[in-house]
């Protein structure tokens, strides 16, 4: 048996140069220090993305993207197909955990200043990945065609419509009409399973190549004597895979005890339910829109908030360029404070929405 496996390995090795790859991976080092825990979140995001792809492909087997049958097909998956409830729950739960892991990965990268030279493009490609995954979440939310997702999409796309000059046109393009309708669902499906995966493949490819070429960043001001190194393969990968197993166990527990609900079928002519909310990762924006007054000076409040988010996003993306001190390996407490304020803003406004305060 052992000889047989050896023969297979040597056959593949002579063709794929596996030994050389393993040697290369072994040479690659990962620093070990008191903040190394945060390195694992990138791998966790990648792992969750793979789960998304696998479960997404499986869901495609029974899901039908039309207004008449989308809800029924999801209902069919969770009630008739063997383990359908599990596949669907894993897809939904891991999607949410993925967005959470991306936020953790992004803020840990921010506070460790890993965006500094020469990793500016890694940060920027990561920022675009965040946008793509938010778009995945937004487009996927509508696909079961239930009441909550229908109205949340209506609100979300209405917000896009308030953008100056281009808003209505963009909204029309996204919806395939002036309202969330039968034309919207196939469009969102197209975004979700064709356009966004293709975009992700390109950006994620760039992001991973950059991580492999440039290696892991060390925190600013860390002395060489304080840093130990372990090999990427097998040491780091083995530790990483332990994290994946823990995440998988967490998803399993969540799916069994809190299976993802399908809700009530959307009725475009029904009145909007009272507890209408987008997914949790959009809540801070949703709450902001509630808090902003109808008019601020000569601008509409909604438009002002959207412009604020766009400018904020641009600043966030350009942090590696703006933070000049850190690119010279000096500390930049002002930027750390800025990051902390952004994090607090997101947490507080999200919490406010969950507290059911009359905003």
């Amino acid at each position: 048996m052992r000889n047989f496996l050896k023969n297979i390995f040597s056959y593949l090795d002579s063709r794929f140069k596996l030994s050389e790859l393993a040697e290369l991976a072994g040479k690659k080092k990962v620093p070990v220090h008191k903040h190394s825990l945060w390195y694992y979140f990138g791998g966790i995001c990648l792992f969750l993305f793979v789960i998304q792809v696998i479960t997404g492909i499986l869901l495609l087997l029974y899901y039908t993207p039309s207004v008449d049958s989308a809800y029924e097909s999801v209902h069919f998956i969770i009630s008739q197909v063997k383990f359908g409830w599990l596949i669907r729950s894993v897809h939904s739960w891991s999607a949410n955990i993925l967005i959470g892991a991306i936020f953790v990965h992004m803020f840990s990268t921010f506070f460790l200043k890993a965006y500094r030279q020469p990793r500016e493009l890694t940060w920027i490609s990561g920022f675009f990945l965040l946008l793509v995954f938010l778009a995945f979440g937004f487009s996927g939310y509508l696909l079961p065609w239930n009441k909550l997702s229908f109205f949340a999409t209506r609100v979300g796309t209405d917000i896009v419509g308030t953008l100056p000059w281009i808003g209505e046109k963009v909204k029309h393009f996204i919806l395939g009409g002036s309202n969330v309708s039968g034309a919207t669902l196939p469009r969102f499906f197209w975004f979700h399973v064709a356009v966004l995966p293709a975009v992700t493949a390109v950006i994620l490819g760039i992001h991973l190549v950059l991580v492999q070429i440039l290696g892991m960043s060390k925190p600013v001001g860390l002395k060489e004597s304080e840093v130990r190194e372990i090999s990427f393969f097998p040491d780091f990968i083995l530790k990483d895979s332990l994290g994946w197993i823990l995440i998988l166990a967490l998803i399993g527990v969540l799916c069994v005890f809190f299976p993802w609900e399908v809700g009530e079928k959307a009725d475009p002519f029904a009145s909007t339910p009272l507890d209408i909310k987008p997914e949790w990762y959009f809540l801070f924006m949703f709450t902001t829109l509630k808090l902003v007054p109808a008019h601020v000076l000569f601008l509409e409040g909604e438009m002002l908030a959207i412009l604020g988010f766009m400018i904020g996003g641009l600043v966030w993306m350009l942090i590696p360029v703006l933070d000049r001190n850190v690119s010279r390996e000096k500390r930049s407490p002002a930027f750390s404070l800025f990051g902390l304020l952004v994090l607090l803003y997101i947490i507080v406004l999200t919490a406010l929405s969950y507290l059911h305060l009359k905003l």
Partner: protein, 141 residues
């Protein structure tokens, strides 16, 4: 057994067990369930006045065809239009007032029973109700 071999066996077995645990639900998921995906309880088959006496209409009932017949006496009846022999679509023959499957000349009467030919079972009969202007066909409980 050496200690190393025992550990290898334990971890190897654990790994195989894990892989099987993940593959089993996936394989069961891929195998289609017995019940058809399209489970429509009722449809609007036609409008009142659309069918003259002694005529019929094929309508869509989920992903299978149904047949609605207005008999000579003006009674509305409906069946699954799928022949119980080899699933050809049946039609109403006005001259003989019977339902015919053209593939193998299976013939059914207006209660869906087999009169002649190879069909092994009667046609599935549906309920017909009139709601305002609509003729609603539904599955029998």
């Amino acid at each position: 057994m050496k200690r190393r071999n025992f550990i290898n066996f334990l971890f190897g077995g654990g790994l195989i067990g894990t892989i099987v645990t993940f593959l089993y639900p996936v394989i069961r998921y891929i195998i289609p369930p017995g019940q058809s995906q399209s489970r429509i309880g009722q449809v609007e088959a036609a409008k009142m006045g659309e069918l003259a006496p002694n005529s019929s209409k094929i309508f869509k009932f989920g992903d299978v065809p149904g047949i609605l017949i207005n008999t000579k006496e003006g009674e509305l009846i409906a069946f699954s239009a799928v022949c119980t022999h080899l699933t050809c679509t049946v039609h109403y023959e006005e001259e003989t007032e019977t339902i015919l499957c053209p593939c193998h000349n299976g013939r059914f009467d207006l209660s869906g029973k087999v009169i002649s030919g190879p069909p092994p079972a009667p046609l599935e009969a549906y309920n017909v109700e009139v709601s305002g202007e609509d003729i609603i066909v539904s599955k029998k409980a």
